[in-house]
Amino acid sequence: MTKPKQMLSKRIIPCLDVKDGRTVKGVNFVDLRDAGDPVELAAQYAQQGADELVFLDITATHERRKTMIEMVKSVARQLNIPFTIGGGITELADAEALLNAGADKISINSAAVRNPKLIEELAKAFGVQFVVLAVDTKFVDGRNMVHLNGGRLIIELETENWIKQAEDLGAGEILLTSMDHDGTKAGFDCGLLHKINQMINIPIIASGGAGNMEHFTEVFQKANVDAALAASVFHYGEILIPDLKQELNRNQIPVRI
């Protein structure tokens, strides 16, 4: 059987963790460092050739919602590529406010675990393309387990089962972060990503473990994921996106240059 002609590019996604309107990145989710102004960073990344951006408000609480909306508006005014907003989205009204502020997608995590019907409601109201399910997973006693609250809380829920259920409920994309790899810079969790990718028919974004350009080549070749996300390697200039795109292109991975 010949493979159908398919030219869709693999996406490179810088992730900006945002706290109080500033970008931060945790190493293994603790020890936060300040890495700049999110709007300025976003414009820079678009300029460099990032395909998409993800903003995660890691300390989202109800009173911060307004700050977030203002930030989303500023980003949408400047940015000419798509972006996703995550953190603290617990109900339809949160999502709608972000949509109206110019967000292309929202990512939900804990709220969906606590109330899976939220996925269905969001998909019905705004379309599946708007709903990204973020999953933080860790290998515990021989099983891949879902973790919440930035990885601090383990849930009696197997990652594979949860993702399958979320796809059925209407998630349009999966953002899978391996807690075992996140912050290690030792490479993505290709084995798990490959396994999950085989199970689902929606795009999957690999997250956690990027340390060098070879890791990106590896995750696209071994796990055939649709996108790869990283934070610190981009924020601190350890990997420049134009270089990364050239490297991927040399390795016959379809990218937008």
Binding site: S9, N80, G102
Partner: protein, 196 residues
């Protein structure tokens, strides 16, 4: 000046932001007389095509839109609306361009929705002036417009060949999101605003 048909199908913040970055003036079309005020009309749209069509009907603008002689650009679901029919909700649409909107089939061995950057092959058309062959644009959709050589002005591949852009007379449609497609997308919006 561009008039954006304001019928409640999806958010237009990104579109207006893109026009502002390009210094292209715009306003909203809510009534039939608003259509007179602008030289160019954009029909935006995200979400469900059948639902979008119902919302457009509620504006009472359908006959006036179909009668327009000025340049009209449908974006994403707005493009699908100018076709005859969508498999999404088995909906009869505006029938301005005699082509159909169909569902991507899983059997094509593709993920759905078609989400991300994909290469577009434009024909020689003013809307794509200055846009090179194989330039990538940002797509997000689960339904596509069947390729028809008469009305196609730019094609793309995702499991099969489909129309990334169509034209009939003064009516244009693009499946991708020019407001999210970087510089190439901004070129399309600029070109549209310069159409006569």
């Amino acid at each position: 000046m561009i008039g954006i048909v304001n019928y409640g199908a999806g958010n237009i913040f990104s579109l207006t932001a893109a026009l502002e970055r390009l210094n292209v003036q715009y306003g909203m079309v809510n009534t039939e007389s608003d259509l007179e005020k602008y030289s160019h009309i954009i029909i935006p749209g995200v979400g469900h095509a059948g639902t979008a069509m119902e919302k457009l009907k509620h504006t009472g603008l359908i006959d006036a839109i179909k009668a327009l002689k000025k340049p009209v650009l449908g974006i994403c679901v707005g493009m699908q609306l100018i076709t005859e029919h969508s498999e999404e909700g088995d909906a009869a649409l505006l029938s301005i361009v005699p082509v159909k909107t169909k569902k991507f089939d899983k059997s094509l061995n593709i993920k759905i929705p078609h989400m991300g950057w994909n290469a577009v092959n434009p024909k020689n058309n003013s809307l794509f002036e200055g846009v090179e062959d194989n330039t990538q644009f940002y797509f997000v959709h689960s339904y596509f417009i069947e390729y028809n050589p008469t009305f196609d002005i730019a094609s793309a591949h995702y499991g099969l060949k489909f129309s990334a852009a169509i034209q009939k007379d003064n009516f244009y449609g693009v499946q991708f999101h020019p407001e999210k497609s970087g510089k190439a997308g901004e070129q399309i919006l600029k070109n549209f605003s310069n159409l006569r």
